[in-house]
């Protein structure tokens, strides 16, 4: 028998990007064997046994000859089980078990699905980034991946239930099944509302400033002061994701294998709340050969909330530096590199001191404990937080008596106005103003300058602190419709909002 070669289209995913892959199969006489070339990872290598079982249980014959699969281009890493169907079809084609009509039809198609041992098609993670590289083809996926695949608009999306059926559809013997009913979210995507927060005006203002100025936010407060509750309300204040951002966020989530919303598309800015025991890899991404996106990328377009900031491993916090500066995270491994998007609003939360603190006179910590606590927060990291507000444990009055504060919708509207003002004036949000731009766009009035000078001279404000105060004061002024020089009372407000961690006790 003559040696046969066949090639089938599919894709793999690295980081948050898909990469097209061509599965080539060569069947030759010789000792029966099955090898996969082209740098498959462990899961992909296991396709050997999955595909064999699926082919045999679907009523096809397994060729008892020497089978060589090549995943081209052979230099890049292939990951995951999404190549299963393509491998199975390539073997069947090379073994001449498929008609010519099928072989012609296959050329227009690409296949992204895992095979079960009985020949069924299973959904895989990362369908949207993979399908995005196969836009000129008809993409065949498992029915659970249909919505996600359609998001990136390939030429056509088709679903199939199992390998036997898929071959029949390709041959034109059975029509392609109808796509599953579109799943619309019946419940509106629920974002917690600010109206639930009682009192906490300083912290509320902190959230609004963070959203309006793109400032990173540090919440300092004792346990039970509602830091997490406050942080969860920030995504509602941020602008909704536009079409591109939505798709990008969805693709990141998909590549990470995280569950997607029922409609398939992420529209609300995400909030990620990793626990402080997380590893460096979980934070920045990488780890597997797929260079799986980490928390910083999953928070792209939204909020990365680090509760108990001081408990995170210093290496994990240090790794935040690049994403905070460049909005991306660069992963380099021995054989692959990837640039993943990672632009987010960082919200840190911490106790004011190890004992939890409270009003002056209630702290239990001695100087040594305070000094140790301070050392946990590196200066460069703390410098990132423009807005640092105190969250107080609410008193009985606030919990029972105080009228409700503004709801998310009202604050959101104001946030959008302030963002528009800043973008029109300087092209970036106030939180990104530095150096000369700060002087040009955030000039302080004479009275305000005097306030700042006093603070500097008494040593209560540092040079870096000064820039932070100016950026925050700029946002405060924009919020009140003061678009020119920053008036003194906004500088004073920015100064009064300041919170400190483990402040030195007075002698």
């Amino acid at each position: 028998m003559e040696d046969m070669v066949a090639s089938i289209r599919t894709a793999s995913v690295i980081g948050t990007h898909g990469a097209p892959v061509v599965v080539e199969c060569h069947i030759a006489t010789g000792l029966p064997g099955f090898s996969i070339l082209g740098r498959p990872d462990d899961v992909c290598r296991e396709a050997r046994d999955r595909v064999r079982a699926a082919v045999m249980s679907s009523g096809f014959t397994w060729p008892s000859r020497r089978i060589t699969i090549n995943l081209a281009p052979s230099t890049s890493r292939k990951v995951g089980s999404g190549l299963d169907v393509a491998i199975a079809l390539a073997i069947l084609a090379a073994d001449e078990q498929l008609d010519d009509s099928i072989l012609r039809a296959v050329d227009d198609h690409a296949f992204v699905a895992e095979l079960s041992l009985d020949g069924g098609l299973r959904p895989v993670a990362g369908v949207s980034p993979m399908a995005a590289t196969l836009r000129d083809r008809i993409v065949v996926v498992a029915s659970d991946n249909y919505e996600e695949c359609r998001l990136v608009e390939p030429r056509h999306t088709r679903v199939a239930c199992d390998l036997r059926g898929l071959v029949a559809h390709l041959a034109g013997l059975i029509p392609w099944p109808d796509p599953p009913d579109p799943r619309v979210d019946t419940t509106d995507v629920s974002v917690p509302d600010l109206v639930d927060v009682r009192g906490q005006n300083a912290a509320r203002l902190g959230l609004e400033l963070a959203a309006a100025g793109g400032h990173h936010l540090l919440l300092v407060g004792p346990p039970g002061s509602g830091k997490t509750m406050l942080a969860q309300r920030l995504p509602g204040l941020l602008p909704r994701l536009d079409a591109d951002a939505s798709l990008e966020a969805t693709m990141i989530r998909s590549a990470a294998g995280e569950p997607l919303p029922r409609s398939g598309l992420l529209t609300v800015p995400p909030i990620r709340m990793p626990h402080h025991s997380m590893s460096l890899v979980a934070m920045v991404g990488g780890g597997s050969s797929a260079l799986r996106p980490g928390e910083v990328s999953l928070a792209h377009g939204g909020v990365l909330f680090l509760d108990e900031l001081g408990e995170f491993a210093p290496s994990a916090l240090d790794a935040l530096r690049q994403p905070l500066e460049e909005g991306v995270v660069r992963l380099s491994r021995a054989h692959s590199t990837a640039v993943l998007p990672a632009r987010f609003t960082l919200v840190g939360a911490t106790n004011p001191c190890p004992c939890g603190g409270g009003p002056p006179g209630s702290c239990e910590c001695d100087e040594a404990a305070l000094a140790k606590y301070r050392r946990r927060f590196s200066g460069p990291l703390l410098d990132r937080f423009d807005v640092r507000v105190v969250a107080h444990r609410p008193g009985a009055d606030e919990l029972l008596g105080t009228p409700n504060g503004e709801c998310t919708a009202v604050v959101h509207a104001r946030v959008m106005t302030v963002r528009a003002i800043a973008l029109e004036r300087q092209g970036v949000l106030n939180g990104r103003l530095t150096g000369p731009d700060l002087d040009r766009h955030a000039a302080v009035s004479t009275d305000g300058t005097r306030l700042l000078r006093t603070e500097l001279e008494t040593g209560r404000l540092t040079g870096r602190g000064l820039h932070r105060i100016r950026r925050v004061a700029r946002t405060l002024a924009d919020r009140d419709g003061e678009h020119e020089e920053i008036p003194a009372h906004h500088v004073a407000a920015a100064l009064a909002l300041r919170a400190r961690i483990a402040s030195h006790r007075r002698g």
Binding site: G358, P360, H392, L476
Partner: protein, 391 residues
């Protein structure tokens, strides 16, 4: 003690330093040993292993220390370390008489400053390290008025209440009249001075934040310790230190204290010695006043003002109080309105802004900034406290 007033040799001073470094040889045990022999003799006995049977359990631990570099260091090293520190053995004629008669006197005192200050008992002003602005103000005012009435102010040189009390006492002597730089001795004699009783060695400043105050107290008054120079601030030394504070006091005034803590130990020591205890009442909601309010409930005398303390001393009518002149800018309009919101409790920004409605956050913040720069308020991490007196 061979005789009540024996002039010690310098070798005894050096020996007592070495003896105090022996593990397990606390003040009480050393004192009873010193009743049998001078420190020099004791040290020789210990070094040669001729220890009385009742100390046999320590001899092994001691032999390790005796073999250590620390113990073998030359006398000169100890001399250097002592510097101008005076050593008062319990039988030294300069050793304070009322302390010698105490139930538990320190076998040796290390002294920096004016030894004369120890001749008469003072008033102890003690309290928590976690003080509120209210407590600091009260402590400082009591310290100032006591010193004005020629009463020495005994405290522990810790953060919070202790430091405030010492500062109050220091305020009476300074500023010195520029025309009379050296100070008229007659005038100086008539005012009380701070007496600091510390737990660590005199050259181990703890807490370090109080370094300046530590020196100022030694200059204006006296700082004492029963631990030799170089002794670290071990935890167990603080309760021991507190007994000395109680023993040096005619009255113990607790300004702010939590339900338990060092001040409560001082109170216990005072009660053991029959020294009257006074307490400054505080808000029932403030943690820093939990202990003092409990003392009041249990029958301690109330100190609502420095006059109450002076009355207990029988000094109420001595001289008129040279009231501190109000040097701060008097707030008006907005600022007065903002300041009027403050009672003794610290307030957070939210509450201040709510109480000042319809003023905006910015206006309130400006006003708070002014009040702080004039010294009426103190801002610590989101909390604002009213400052009652500046000293």
């Amino acid at each position: 003690m061979t005789s009540p007033h024996r002039f010690a040799h310098e070798s005894d001073h050096l020996a007592v330093v070495r003896l105090l470094e022996l593990p397990g040889l606390g003040p009480r045990r050393l004192l009873s040993m010193m009743r049998e022999a001078s420190p020099g003799d004791l040290l020789r006995r210990v070094e040669s292993g001729r220890v009385p049977r009742r100390y046999a359990e320590f001899s092994r631990a001691w032999s390790a220390t005796l073999a250590s570099d620390l113990h073998r260091r030359p006398d000169d090293e100890i001399r250097d370390r002592l510097g101008d520190t005076r050593v008062l053995l319990v039988d030294d004629p300069d050793y304070p008489e009322h302390l010698r008669r105490d139930v538990d006197p320190p076998p040796a005192l290390f002294v920096r400053g004016d030894v004369e200050r120890l001749r008469r008992p003072g008033v102890a002003v003690v309290g928590t390290r976690h003080a509120t602005e209210y407590g600091r103000a009260a402590a400082s005012e009591i310290g100032r008025r006591l010193a004005t009435a020629d009463v020495d102010v005994v405290s522990g040189l810790a953060l919070g209440i202790d430091a405030a009390a010492h500062r109050g006492a220091l305020a009476v002597r300074s500023p010195v009249d520029p025309l009379d730089e050296r100070g008229d001795p007659a005038v100086v004699r008539r005012s009380g001075a701070p007496v600091g009783v510390v737990a660590s060695g005199l050259d181990v400043v703890y807490p370090r934040a109080n370094g300046g105050l530590w020196r100022a107290v030694a200059d204006a008054g006296v700082v004492i310790s029963e631990a030799p120079p170089g002794t670290p601030p071990d935890r167990f030394r603080f309760p021991l230190r507190n007994r000395i504070i109680a023993a040096l006091a005619r009255v113990v005034v607790v300004v702010e204290s939590r339900a338990s803590g060092g001040s409560m130990i001082t109170v216990d020591e005072a009660l053991k010695r029959g020294v009257p205890v006074m307490a400054v009442p505080g808000a029932t909601t403030t943690r820093a006043s939990e202990g003092t309010n409990r003392l009041l409930r249990d029958g301690a005398m109330v100190a609502t003002s420095p006059d109450d303390v002076l009355a207990v001393l029988g000094l109420a009518s001595i001289g008129a109080d040279p009231m501190m002149r109000e040097l701060r800018v008097v707030p008006r309009d907005f600022d007065a309105a903002v300041l009027s919101v403050f009672a003794h409790d610290p307030l957070d920004l939210d509450r201040i802004v709510a109480a000042c409605a319809p003023m905006t956050l910015g206006e309130v913040a400006l006003s708070l900034g002014r009040l702080e720069s004039w010294g009426w308020l103190r801002h610590t991490s989101g909390w604002f406290e009213r400052v009652t007196i500046t000293t």
